[in-house]
């Protein structure tokens, strides 16, 4: 496929992918929660525009209320994890309203006794933080579990990065106005075609492209 058509097709894919990317992120949260038998798991996305952390996916406790909530990017445990790129596990935190879990407690009324927090890294950049709240207290934490958490973080980071890229691409399309939107929709429709119809569509687009190249 010629490069420009490919770009348009990718853009069209992006338009439809927001929900799929969200589902992927949500599924990662659900699995993290299940693997660690935790009460909740959540993913923060780092929002560069506002320099904040946003709850992007929540499984278990708080799933009704936390989505979309924002906290400052460099305070609290999540902020520390984002800034330092270090994973930490805290358990058995003696109840105190000021402890770092307050960022969750303030929004849900549920005060976790412990959490695991791991940075979500994409290439050089941290793109967010994965939290796993209140795993069973009787199970002693091990370095193997820390590695497992790291593996989950890799998966969640990819899902989060897809979501981020998709939103950026959508923003570009929105900014470009209707012109590019039409191209994206045509590419999207073409992608759904099969057999002779698809072939004819491609030929038509090919002819259009030749026409545009000649005019340029």
């Amino acid at each position: 496929m010629p490069e420009e058509s490919l770009k348009a097709a990718v853009a069209a894919g992006v338009l439809a992918s927001e929900q799929a990317n969200r589902d992927l992120l949500q599924a990662t949260c659900e699995v993290a929660r299940a693997i660690f038998s935790a009460r909740a798991a959540s993913v923060f996305l780092y929002d560069e525009r506002t320099d904040e952390l946003v709850f992007e996916a929540v499984a278990g406790e708080g799933s009704e209320t936390l989505l979309g909530q924002r906290i400052p990017s460099s305070t609290g445990i999540a902020g520390w994890v984002l800034v330092t790129r270090q994973s930490i596990v805290l358990e058995d935190v003696s109840a105190d309203p000021r402890w770092g879990g307050a960022e969750i407690a303030a929004k849900t009324g549920y005060v976790p006794r412990g959490l695991m927090a791991v940075p979500l890294l994409h290439e050089e950049e941290p793109v967010g933080v994965l939290n796993v709240l209140d795993r069973p207290q009787e199970a002693r934490f091990s370095l193997e579990e820390m590695e497992l958490l790291g593996l989950f973080a890799n998966q969640a980071a990819i899902a989060l990065d897809l979501l981020r890229k998709g939103r950026r691409a959508k923003a570009v399309l929105d900014d470009a106005g209707a012109d590019v939107g039409v191209v994206a929709r045509i590419a999207s429709s073409l992608d759904a075609l099969e057999g002779p119809q698809r072939k004819a569509g491609l030929q038509l687009l090919g002819a259009l492209e030749e026409l545009f190249v000649q005019k340029r």
Binding site: S74, W80, E91, P126, L143, G150, N154
Partner: protein, 278 residues
């Protein structure tokens, strides 16, 4: 070579004939370095430890009195200001590190340099600015349970880490829990620390397969947290202050040691080395 040596001043980093005595080492190293020699009876008194982190809650009973606290602020033009810190701890982690250091080296002096709170955008600049400031202050040990993955900071961080090394300031830095490139723990001028699962705070191992050089207690560690709370914690960032505190013990007894000698002492007294020798 028959030509006589040219008569020109020797570079400053050479050792002219007849000056060997100027290198007299005050350290009387025994034939076998033991933990007793390294830090027996030391409480870390006289050693200044800097915690470069989220701030310190000085009211926490596990931390006790601290020497001082500053915060690193980053302006819009990325200019760095170091100001007195009245906020305490913005996350809890710095307090945890301070408590670990205090539990092992009870009489060392602890100073807080807060590099958290400037927003994520300013965090790399704050980390670098805070580290630079701490090195200029001449602390004996700087505990860094943090790192950056941004390669644009790597070169400058490397320079600061080397400057610290030559000024006899030991940087003790957490290795990553995940296999990613980050700094400054990968630099050989710092002491890098990962975790082991043993519950003994004075058990630490030398790793013959760097970049991580030492493993210290980092699983299920009881730590101080915000508001007088306590928690059990896991992560390399909690292993690091164990090594910082042991450095403080050694320097309390042997203040003349250079970072190279201190790292050698850690090697010779590591749990997998001292026992082998014994």
């Amino acid at each position: 070579m028959s030509d006589p040596a040219p008569e020109r001043p020797l570079p400053a980093w050479s050792l002219p004939a007849g000056t060997v005595e100027s290198l007299g080492l005050p350290t009387d190293w025994p034939g076998r370095v033991t933990r007793e020699w390294a830090w027996g009876d030391s409480t870390g008194k006289g050693v200044r430890v800097c915690i470069l982190d989220s701030g310190i809650d000085a009211d926490h009973p596990m931390v006790g009195e601290i020497e001082g606290a500053v915060a690193v602020e980053v302006g819009e033009g990325e200019e760095v200001r170091v100001v007195e810190d009245s906020e305490g701890d913005l996350a809890g982690h710095g307090t945890a590190c301070a408590g670990i250091v205090r539990s092992i080296a009870p009489d060392c002096s602890i100073f807080s340099v807060r590099v958290l709170g400037a927003g994520f955008t300013g965090s790399g600049t704050a980390l670098l600015g805070g580290l630079r400031w701490a090195v200029e202050q001449g602390f004996d040990v700087i505990n860094m349970s943090l790192s950056t993955t941004k390669s644009r900071f790597a070169g400058v961080l490397h320079e600061v880490a080397d400057a610290a090394y030559f000024r006899r300031t030991v940087l003790v830095a957490s290795a990553h829990n995940m296999p990613v490139e980050s700094y400054p723990w990968r630099f050989s001028s710092v002491i890098s620390v990962g975790s082991h699962e043993d519950p003994d705070p004075l058990t630490y191992y030398y790793n013959p397969n760097p970049p991580v050089e030492f493993f210290a207690r980092g699983v299920d560690v009881e730590v101080a947290w915000l508001g007088g709370a306590r928690a059990r914690s896991t992560g390399n960032s909690f292993a690091t202050p164990h090594i910082s505190a042991i450095c403080a013990l050694v320097l309390g007894k042997h203040p003349e040691l250079t970072p190279f000698q201190l790292k050698s002492t850690l090697y010779l007294t590591a749990s997998n080395v001292e026992e082998e020798v014994a």
